[in-house]
């Protein structure tokens, strides 16, 4: 099932930041979002992930199918790498695939290490490995390559390719070229004009 976004207006703090965003993402396809800092990529991704309501427009095919990765990885420093992964696996109702995820992100030697003892790049790899264990078809990723070195970026790109080959979808906001066969959507033209709620323009005299 594809992901369809039609005529979406998203708001940050009640003020619209992007409006009229529409796209359809078929199975096995990736869409890369671009745009300068503060242009509303994060807000758009959070809206699609269901963390906030759109002001206008509809999102189809996202509910309960999403694995979201934002700026933070949701890791507990006192739990080990394996414990962190198996927790997220059971939250998403999946139980196998932990080994494969560990393999894919080259975390093998670290599974018994506490997550708090990992470097920033290793933490990020663990955060991305979480995407694999959720076995959710729609990946919504916000700057996934932050603090990754070049070889880890390559691992990540491979993981995304494998996900797409398996019929998954990916929506990625990123500045670097991952070498993916995906469309690119620049959000700048969708920047919303500021509006004032008509209530606040009423005559008070």
């Amino acid at each position: 099932m594809s992901l369809t976004v039609s005529d979406l207006t998203v708001a940050r703090g009640g003020a619209p930041v992007l409006e009229g965003v529409s796209f359809t993402l078929p199975d096995g396809a990736a869409l890369v979002l671009r745009g300068p800092n503060g242009s509303g990529k994060t807000t758009l991704l959070r809206t699609i992930a269901g963390l906030q309501m759109p002001l206008e427009g509809t999102i189809e095919g996202a509910e309960d199918r999403i694995a979201y990765a934002g700026h933070l990885d949701g890791l507990k420093p006192t739990l080990t790498v394996a414990e962190n992964l198996s927790f997220w696996a059971s939250v998403f109702g999946a139980h196998d695939g932990i080994d494969a995820a560990v393999e894919a992100f080259n975390l093998k030697g670290l599974t018994t290490r506490a997550a708090g003892a990992l470097s920033a790049g290793q933490k990020r790899r663990l955060g991305l490995a979480r995407l694999l264990v959720t076995s959710m078809p729609v990946w919504v990723l916000d700057e996934p390559t932050v603090s990754l070195d070049q070889s880890s970026v390559a691992l990540f790109a491979d993981a995304v390719r494998a996900h797409l080959a398996g019929g998954g979808l990916a929506l990625i906001a990123t500045h670097i070229d991952l070498g993916l066969e995906g469309e690119v959507l620049d959000v700048t033209p969708f920047r919303a004009r500021p509006r004032i709620d008509p209530v606040f323009e009423m005559d008070l005299s």
């Binding site: 703090g13 009640g14 004009r193 004032i196 709620d197 606040f200 008070l204």
Partner: protein, 224 residues
Amino acid sequence: MPTLWGLAIVSLVGGLIWGFFLTPDADKFASTVKIIYLHVPSALMAINAWLMMLVASLIWLIRRHHVSALAARAAAPVGITMTLIALITGAIWGQPMWGTWWEWDPRLTSFLILFLFYLGYVALWEAIENPDTAADLTSYLCIVGSVFAMLSRYAVNFWNQGLHQGASLSLDKEKNVADVYYQPLLLCIAGFVLLFVALVLYRTGTEIRARRIGALEARERASA
């Protein structure tokens, strides 16, 4: 608006003068009874202000009408003031009547707890920057708070039976306040209601203007 202010002031001043100077002293209470012209209306409005906030909160959550949320915000400080007036006039009256400024009587205690609920509500409004988030969170707090305020009232009644006389006014039972005192009291209550409405409308207008300024500034920043 000016008419409303006028009516509020006229009925308040009229009612207070009538109540204070033109009614006879009661045998049992002497002149201390006259504080009911402040005590009863303010106590009524303290509760009604909270009820108004509850209704406004529900309207905001269901219909997302901005004015409703702002009206709830505008009513809270007025409600706090009413609660304080009721508590202070109660203490002043309690001193000669019961020989004590404060007693852990259920009604007094309930009002003190209501005061705490008001404080939390206002503090939450003040703590949150984003106005829509603040409106949502305070609305939920108001609803949950109302339930717990009711529970507190029953709990407090259970906890201590109390000194305070029954309600001075009720629609279904016979009046237990003589007519001479009753009529000016009604006028005072009308005055407090009108004053409350006028204050809330005025403060809501101010809130709307503040939001408009914020929105205009945002537009300016965006076009600059």
